[in-house]
């Protein structure tokens, strides 16, 4: 379980109280290049496992019926409820795949590891988690999750085998439940004391895993490197220097060398870090323990890539392509640029990488214009290794420079691949962002590139006294000529060597294609701006009327078909979610959505985890694609990102005939919030008959949130948030859903 503590933010933190995680670490490959040129994201395949189809409530019932002898009855309920709901949250997050190439690869490794333990093998399931966290963890239910981040970092199948063996050991030794029991019994123990217990379990899993690994015939030499993978897992999946020339697609494109750091950034990871408060021993301790065990063991096998070298590299490349995708979804654009650079060395023709690169520059432009660029790149204090140069460069450029630089990069991708529909759309969105950004002014850019402008400048201004031809060719300028020339950036007399960005776009600003799109969006922007100005000029009451009118029309989209994804309910009990009640309410929520759609004439296509047993893997993949799109939009909050799975979303439109997708969530909690008022009401007792009944009656808080996304536009087209002081009952929710659907179906 946990070997390092970098937790994926999408993994419920509470879950991690019950789980142990493992982070670990890499080569380049040329295998499967043809596939990777037209890569599409990893999808689940085959028959959908029961882990995904059985209702959590039923799983919980089964577990409670079987029980666990090491736990008291009250502990059992807490434990099983915790692990079942937490793991199911993860399974239904849209980030987990089953039956895919990575999962199948893991299953085969497990076959080898548990060749002599058929029973345990039959209990265990292996799934891939799309996350750049370098983790693997097993659960009490017998599920082992391995992240694509981990798969992208390892350098051999054997290393994966050792990690899996470690996880399987945790499962076989019931470390999850033991740990829960220990923590429950010793709540008052210090973190340090808890840490000692946890570290012991990790070392135990290391040793048990080693036995399993050895018995399977894997090579002894791959054990210690596995810990190196672990130690450097926070770095990208390779460590290759990148230079400024990577961004210079033509010789005439000038980028000042100062954009790149003149020093190397030190890699600071150490083996002997302080682990007194960690769940895992530090690398040094683990290496020492393992080395001792290795010294005392004999009869080692030699398998490194049992399934073949090419197969391993192929699988790892899948993980690396997923790493790029994950970075784009999470708006980690600095990392994405570096990962794309690494992969382009082996897959220079990959259209997928080009698309991702286009999305990355679009993302960087958006964040820069919104003054949020820091979110997309590493902090200065985190600069380490070769990839830091990218973060350094992006941070170094001011708004104007990065705007021009990103435009240059994007335009080059577009012109090289103008026949690609996706890249064309990204380009259009990019130009729209420029037009709406108010920062981009065509007049600030020269029609000459840096070198030409510099040459003309030198001819016009630097008079070589020894060169009589130059002197004669250049007539002296008057003061007024010089003033006029400064108003026109394209007069090379005005050349400024420090303003490199001015000369980055000579071909773009004269491009008819660019100007046509730019003007179109500029007009749109102007129309919006005029509307805003008109609004600002209105009186308060007119603004209010205007707002009311807007509000009335907000949902009136004339929708007659809708994909409805996983209506979700969270009913809170004290500070935690009442899972059982929530799950039951979810069924009611889905029912009222169906009823409302039927009575309002909207045809819906439900995509729910509760229907997966009948709908199968295709539905699961569609659901994951939509959830991932939602996550991308939400990660980029007020930006306008391009959908990372554009092709898959197009397929969805073909399948269902609509681009509109509804996500909805109901939250309910009862909190009378009596507070200090209760004491005052008792002291001033005539107030009590007013204070207490009112507080108690108004304690229900239900929020019904709904958003409609358009897969084509990859944005939220409308939303509705109903906050009501009532309990979350079926028909209370139903009445609001009906109201929403009635409006969605109508037009303005």
């Amino acid at each position: 379980m946990i070997i390092h503590a970098e937790l994926d933010k999408n993994v419920n933190f509470n879950t991690m109280k019950f789980l142990f995680l493992i982070p670990l670490l890499t080569c380049l490959t040329s295998f499967g290049q043809a596939d990777f040129n037209n890569y599409t994201t990893l999808l689940s395949a085959g028959t959908i496992p029961e882990d995904f189809t059985v209702l959590t409530y039923d799983k919980l019932k089964n577990d409670l019926a079987e029980g666990d002898k090491s736990l008291r009855r009250t502990q059992e309920k807490v434990f099983f409820e915790g692990i079942n709901y937490a793991i199911d949250d993860l399974l239904h997050s849209g980030y987990v795949t089953y039956g895919d190439e990575i999962s199948t690869y893991l299953e085969k490794i497990a076959d080898k590891l548990l060749k002599k333990d058929k029973k345990s093998r039959s209990e265990l399931r292996f799934y891939t988690l799309k996350s750049n966290s370098v983790n693997a963890f097993s659960t009490e239910q017998g599920i082992v999750f391995v992240t694509t981040g981990l798969m992208s970092q390892v350098t051999s199948e054997a290393q994966i085998a050792y990690i899996l063996a470690h996880e399987i050991a945790h499962y076989l030794e019931h470390h999850v439940v033991e740990s829960f029991s220990y923590k429950t019994k010793n709540r008052r123990h210090s973190i340090e004391k808890m840490s000692v217990y946890s570290k012991d379990k990790e070392l135990e899993a290391d040793m048990k895993g080693l036995e399993m690994y050895q018995a399977a015939g894997y090579s002894k030499d791959e054990i210690i490197p596995t810990f190196d993978v672990l130690m450097y897992s926070y770095l990208p999946f390779d460590e290759i220097d990148i230079s400024l020339s990577y961004f210079q697609h033509s010789d005439s494109l000038f980028l000042p060398p100062s954009l790149f750091p003149d020093k190397k950034f030190e890699i600071k990871a150490i083996e002997d870090e302080d682990d007194s408060r960690s769940t895992h021993p530090n690398i040094k301790t683990r290496k020492e323990a393992i080395t001792e065990a290795l010294d005392n063991s004999k009869n080692w096998g030699t398998d490194i890539n049992f399934q073949g070298d090419e197969k391993f590299k192929y699988i790892r490349n899948i993980a690396r392509f997923e790493a790029v995708r994950n970075d784009v979804i999470e708006a980690k654009y600095g990392r994405a640029v570096y990962s794309i650079f690494l992969l382009e060395r082996d897959f220079p023709e990959s259209m997928y990488l080009k698309r991702m690169k286009a999305q990355t520059w679009l993302g960087l432009l958006m964040y820069r214009l919104n003054n949020k660029i820091s979110r997309t790149i590493d902090r200065k204090s985190d600069y380490e290794g070769a990839s830091a140069a990218i973060h350094y460069m992006i941070r170094k450029m001011n708004k104007d420079e990065l705007e021009a630089f990103a435009t240059r990069q994007m335009y080059d991708i577009y012109t090289d691949n103008s026949s690609d529909e996706e890249i064309k759309l990204i380009w259009e969105r990019f130009v729209k962002t420029l037009a709406f950004g108010e920062n981009f002014k065509l007049t600030e850019y020269s029609k000459s590139n840096y070198e030409s402008a510099k040459g003309i400048f030198e001819i016009n201004n630097i008079i070589d006294p020894n060169d009589s031809t130059t002197v004669q060719a250049k007539a002296p300028k008057s003061k007024y000529d010089r003033i006029k020339s400064k108003k026109d950036v394209d007069l090379a007399l005005n050349f400024d060597s420090t303003e490199f960005r001015t000369y980055l776009l000579p071909d773009i600003i004269v491009s008819e294609d660019f100007n046509a799109i730019f003007e179109k969006y500029k007009d749109e922007f102007k129309a919006e701006k005029d509307l805003e100005d008109t609004y600002d000029a209105m009186s308060y009451s007119d603004q209010r009327k205007f707002d009311q009118e807007e509000s009335k029309n907000r949902l009136k989209l004339g929708i007659d078909e809708l994909i409805v994804v996983e209506p979700t309910v969270y009913s809170y009990k004290k500070n935690s979610i009442d899972r059982v009640k929530s799950e039951k309410l979810e069924a009611s929520f889905s029912e009222v959505i169906e009823e409302s759609s039927a009575s309002t004439g909207i045809k819906i296509y439900p995509i729910n985890s509760s229907q997966l047993s009948t709908e199968g893997t295709q539905s699961y993949n569609e659901r994951s694609t939509l959830l991932n799109m939602l996550m991308q939009i939400t990660n980029n909050n007020d930006m306008d990102p391009f959908p990372v799975d554009y092709e898959l979303l197009n397929q969805l439109e073909e399948n269902y005939g609509t681009t509109k997708v509804m996500f909805s969530v109901v939250e309910h909690r009862y909190d009378a919030d009596l507070g200090m008022g209760a004491i005052y009401a008792i002291i001033f007792y005539p107030a009590a008959p007013i204070y207490f009944p009112m507080k108690l009656l108004m304690g229900n808080n239900t929020e019904i949130n709904m958003i409609i996304l358009d897969t084509k536009e990859a944005r939220i087209v409308t939303g509705s948030s109903h906050y009501i002081k009532d309990s979350a009952r079926k028909h209370t929710i139903g009445a609001h859903v009906y109201s929403i659907f009635t409006q969605l179906n109508s037009t303005k």
């Binding site: 979700t568 906050y723 009906y738």
Partner: protein, 265 residues
Amino acid sequence: MRTLVFISIFFIGSSVQAQNTGLYGKKISLDLSFGGAMPVINMLNGSMYKSRSGVLVEKLDMFDYSIRTGASYALANNFALGFEFDIEFMNIHAPTYAYVSYPSGGATSMQMKHEALNMRTMVFMPRFEFTSHSGLLPIGLSHQIGIGFSRTKIVQKDYEHVFYPTTYNNELPILDDFDERFYDYTNDAFKGLVFMYTLNVRTPINKFMMITYGIRYNFNVGIDAPAYFGAPDVTYFAESNAYSASKERRLYSLISFNLGMSFAL
């Protein structure tokens, strides 16, 4: 999906919401509920006599009750107009002694135990109700405000009563022309105004029925006292007249709870 909760709130939490009104489009609601209250202030005046199988028993007056009917029409998702018709039942303390006249002339006072008087008030009240911006009337929590007219009468029935002789030998005096009706029930009712605020919740249990409950705050004032509202000539209310007793009783009826059903049309 959990993240969605927070994110979707982020996206749309500040947006102004418009809604189509009604419970599945039904905008009219008919309410039928029962109200109850503990007349705490009245209890401070001591216990009352109540008839239990013809026997007068001294008890605290623990409960007022009422039947409320009403109808509302939701003009917008957060505003509705309506009216209600209520019948409220309360008890008031009966007199503890009466004056009686002798056939031979003259009169005397006589102590008695008298069953508490039942008072019935009919209220007709136009009202409006409003709720939060994203409410959806008629369902959910709403604030109801109304000003209504009330008409209060003492319920006509044969009240149980027992006299105590006040003569020195503890014998009942010989009475002539004794009328056991201590109050003239046929006299006019008195009228009043009702100022009402209710915090009400209607929770739908299906597509047209709702459970309704809430707390109601009243302020009842009398506006039209009858010229004479009390006992007939032969015997009369010795302590105070019924009007002032009833008025006081109504005035102190400030809070009640409602529970009932509503039907959406």
